[in-house]
Symmetry: C2
Amino acid sequence: MHIEFRHLRTIKAIHEYGGLARAADQLNITQSALSHQIKGLEDQAGVELFVRRSKPMRLSPAGQRLLRLAEQVLPQVEATLSEFSSLRDGRSGRMHIAIECHACFEWLFPVLEGFRKSWPDVDVDIRPGLAFDALPALQKEDVDLVVSSDPEELPGVEFVELFDYNAVFVASASHPLASKPYIDAEDFRGQTLITYPVERSRLDVFSQLLIPAKVEPAAIRQVELTAVILLLVASNRGISVLPDWVVREVKYSSDYVTRPLTETGITRRLYAAIRSEDMEKPFVRELVDLARVEARKLQSQ
Amino acid sequence: MHIEFRHLRTIKAIHEYGGLARAADQLNITQSALSHQIKGLEDQAGVELFVRRSKPMRLSPAGQRLLRLAEQVLPQVEATLSEFSSLRDGRSGRMHIAIECHACFEWLFPVLEGFRKSWPDVDVDIRPGLAFDALPALQKEDVDLVVSSDPEELPGVEFVELFDYNAVFVASASHPLASKPYIDAEDFRGQTLITYPVERSRLDVFSQLLIPAKVEPAAIRQVELTAVILLLVASNRGISVLPDWVVREVKYSSDYVTRPLTETGITRRLYAAIRSEDMEKPFVRELVDLARVEARKLQSQ
DNA sequence: TGAGTGTTATGAAATTGTTTCACAATGGCG
DNA sequence: CGCCATTGTGAAACAATTTCATAACACTCA
């Protein structure tokens, strides 16, 4: 036999209610059961837990030590169990997010700030570095939400529409292309294109414009941070294509020009990929709602 | 079913050894048993503890919470168990001491100081206030040792001889009785006697001298602290009778005189009353030995 | 894609552990 | 001493855990 929580509860009750008989009542068990239980425990621990010289039996020093253990440990168990119950009823949970699109930090951060206020018990995190294998990670429950603009048919995964955005051309105000009303694929020839450091197929400029038109820019420079991209563009070290919610920030600055790509513009749609089972969780729905609101805010600035 | 330590050990092993099968080996149990165990636990907790999408199954968020509990709680249990084993093999234990004789603090404190060094895991305490019912308290295991000078025949209790001492008369050097070579009962007539605040039968002066001689002092003043008794005696507010180990301290001071009681002196013996079952415990024997050594030291000063 | 391997799940039977029942033993108290 | 309240004990009943045998599943590699 091993020491078990049952024993701790018993010790505690015997101490609390002063005696086996009363403790037995409290625990909805017979006095005999407790007697056997304690005997077993004393055999296994090899120490006397109770002083039996006096009649309502009392804790021995060893018994008091065990009581101390009980009083340390039982509340910890209670705490865990109550976290489970808040997990069950959807008040707490995990919301680890993978973002495929590099610029999504811009709107995601404010969304998460708001989210944390409404759902303080949900463990929120952004997991960068998963950009590549995000959807498998979603299926394996390594993450709980993937922000993506390429929906796929996957079993157990649903793509919820978040919002539409435009891929927008950005250049320095003094750039030759600044005079054109809109930008075509051919305009990229001979230019230095600044992009996020991800593979071409994940970049809107390439997948939507340059690859179909078979145009190759003169050079590509990969930069991690949006702010740095804009800096380089302003100082005429290259041109770039960014989502409109990023571009709004610089639209009214006289340093930059922004132009639509092609005469009609290139519009894309962003999705939240979520495991079907998570779809009904209230905090998941709220995160999606918050994202939409935030996007609208950014785009109407 | 309830959550039990077994489950915590299981969770921990599965996490540690990466998978049910390996954990089962470690715990000397079949993989099937663990599978059943976890199922039961998940049913009862109402949450999924593991992610089964991938093959060696991994902890879900709830499972990680449970693992955290396991890692908090299991070491606490270990600690308790190891205290039990040191209790079993006699390295630790409890040594709560009741002293009937009020002046015994004087030699007991240094004894306990030494004792703590040799037996750091023994819980030592002096319980004053039990002076009256000390022996019943010993039988009920409320205390573990009683210092007493009145041995009785009690079942399960043994009286171990500690050392002999003399009850010694103390007065101010300027006191009229200071001129006598020894003090008799009759000398107390008309005097103010300063004693500890306990009943007469527990005071050597009364039980050994004044009661048999049917002598009543003019007044009795009860004082708690030995140092205060000596102070009062020095300033001629009364006379007192104290054990020799206390008196040695003032013997060579010109403020006091000390004299034997009666021509032959009154010698008494101090005992340690101990429950028979505790007699063989090594730290009990050592405490008795230390007490004897300390007494010898005090008396040969 | 399918065979092979390693892993987890499941149901029934066996085993082990716990509780109950009935009553014995013991201590406390008048 | 005798009564009442309390704890202890052994056998039987009951409940749980574990095992066994085998199915189902997921990953790997050809």
